[in-house]
Assembly symmetry: C2
Homo-oligomer: 358 residues x 2
């Protein structure tokens, strides 16, 4: 059993904490540990460090290696450029297949939060058994807690089997991020689950599916496979990888494949996609304020806010529902519910070439 | 003609910029110059530096002397303790009387803003002429721009005379800060003016009035007067001053005196009493944001706010009507309209003995 942690994202919505050089998963945003550290520690309860692979970009590899000293260097796969999840998973699958031709591969995003680690490990175990027995593409669906347009959805069909405590469902369809009305209908129906972006399958099975649905990408992967471990790898990988289609595994494979299964991941999952999401999952004081990283706060008639300002005293007077994040060089004040628009700030910084803040 | 600038206040509502060691008048809050520097420059158009006295406390004397190099050191009067405006004005009057027995004394708060300096100088000139001719207590009343409970009011009676462009009115009453209903009635009547805290009179006249209405305070002042310039001054001043009644000139003298006159000060006055007042008088961008001291701000759908953060980038997303003030060690976020409550933050800091932030 192998874990593949995808650590290619930037997490631009966590600006000003996240920066080009310091993406979300390398930050201690959810707890005192960095998110990738949490992710590795969680899966290590089931999969030894030697079997954990991490796929990342050049810019962040050094920092990631420093944060994960127990992961063998040869397990840190560096993408020459970002090419979305289909290429990333394909590359990792090549490595897993070399290590174990029938190896099970647990694909995990690097930057999500999970409240109940024990339950998570149980579900992953059941998913791995299912992937092994069924040769299927096993997804983890999250029971929707609200109508969300920012997630993809998994439409469940009938029960296939029971594996331990877990029910394994057939999947009727995998859906892209819907509009609000569609999302509402999904959530009301009771048959739709959030797509957590976690997948469990045999390396050989996902490579076969990539070959079927994305033959050009597969051809590129085969060129890379031929060069892996040879002197020409350093030249071949960037040359070929650059030309790979940039497509998500959901859109490229999962929506089309017919052997997709789903287990329900009822373990307190959050993608921690924004400061708003972080407020949602964090412990609050009596006024509904979330005070992060031991920030010192004096609040007068103020409620429902999130404060990250470990360096200075923060005083709030009569304010409500704000996201307040202060770093060494920048201060963000954002209305709660609007933190998706933090992306717009970063875009403005790029337009204005204020590189120091990026 | 002499100016007496009262620089004893702390301006606690301008926390976190104002501190025990750095009160409001020593800060560049309204313009690039400090408020006391503005105040001195304004009155210097009419009164030479040698005739300008400044009354301040021990804590701030050194900083004030540094900011006002042209004021003779002997004109910086240091109160051993703060004893409100009656004692402060009495002490200054002793000094003015020694310099010129019939000297006119223009009493000015150190921390107010005035938009039209030229008009101000004209009004002060007319007030001085009036004080000289009438031996009266001349006040400067401001036409109310709104219902305010934070100011005292002057009730005007009939016109006494015209001095140049200025009309001189008799005064029917001087009123303490009223409640909201009373203030509304005042403003509607058209006969009430904000008490600007600026006064013009002969030193001899105000001392005579203090003798009449505050005889104990007067007796103390006479003890100090006897010691002024003698070796025992250093011992007598603190011993006597400590025992003086702490009472305002308005309550102690002006409300009772019968020779009170008023000129209208229509020169863009503000007491700049809070961050809200500063927002009111400051230049705004198209979204109604006030950006102070060249703070760098990126605003997305944000309006009506005041931002002081010269050291860092400030990004606003979807926020409205906030006061945002960041200093080296503290960050204040206050709902506009609530900046009176900044005082409560300072009180909490005192209670919690967080002296570094005071």
């Amino acid at each position: 059993m192998y874990a593949v942690i995808m650590a290619g994202g930037r997490g631009v919505r966590f600006w000003p904490r996240s920066r080009e050089k310091k993406p979300k998963h390398l930050l201690d945003i959810v707890s005192e540990k960095t998110i990738i550290r949490e992710t590795v520690d969680r899966i290590k309860q089931r999969i030894p460090a030697d079997n954990i692979l991490v796929v990342t970009g050049k810019k962040h590899a050094r920092d990631l290696i420093r944060q994960l000293p127990e992961i063998p260097l040869s397990n840190i796969l560096i993408e020459p450029v970002g090419r979305n999840t289909a290429a990333c998973i394909g590359l990792a699958a090549l490595h897993v297949r070399r290590k174990a031709p029938e190896g099970i591969m647990v694909v995990l995003p690097s930057d999500h939060a999970i409240a109940d680690s024990r339950k998570f490990i149980d579900v992953i175990g059941a998913a791995a058994q299912t992937a092994s027995e069924e040769n299927g593409l096993v997804t983890i669906g999250i029971t929707p807690a609200s109508v969300q347009t920012g997630f993809g959805y998994i439409e469940r069909a009938g029960l296939l089997k029971q594996v331990g405590q877990a029910e394994v469902f057939r999947v009727k369809s995998i859906r892209e991020k819907p509009d609000f009305q569609t999302a509402s209908a999904f959530v009301q129906s009771g048959n739709f689950y959030w797509n957590s972006g976690m997948f469990v399958w045999k390396a050989s099975v996902i490579l076969r599916e990539i070959n079927r649905w994305l033959p050009d990408l597969y051809a590129g992967l085969m060129k890379i496979d031929a060069a892996l471990g040879c002197p020409e790898e350093a030249a071949v990988l960037p040359r070929v990888y650059k030309k790979l289609a940039s497509i998500s595994i959901d859109y490229g494979v999962m929506e089309k494949a017919d052997n997709v299964l789903m287990l329900n991941g009822d373990f307190g999952w959050s993608d921690v996609g924004s400061w708003d999401a972080l407020w949602e999952i964090s412990a609050k004081d009596r006024s509904g304020n979330v005070v992060l990283n031991n920030s010192r706060v004096i609040a007068e008639n103020s409620e429902g806010s999130l404060i990250y300002n470990p360096r200075k005293l923060t005083a709030l007077v009569g304010v409500k529902d704000l996201i307040i994040v202060e770093t060494k060089d920048a201060l963000l004040i954002c209305k709660k519910g609007r933190s998706q628009d933090v992306k717009g700030v970063v875009e403005k910084l790029e337009e204005q070439k204020l590189k120091g803040y990026l």
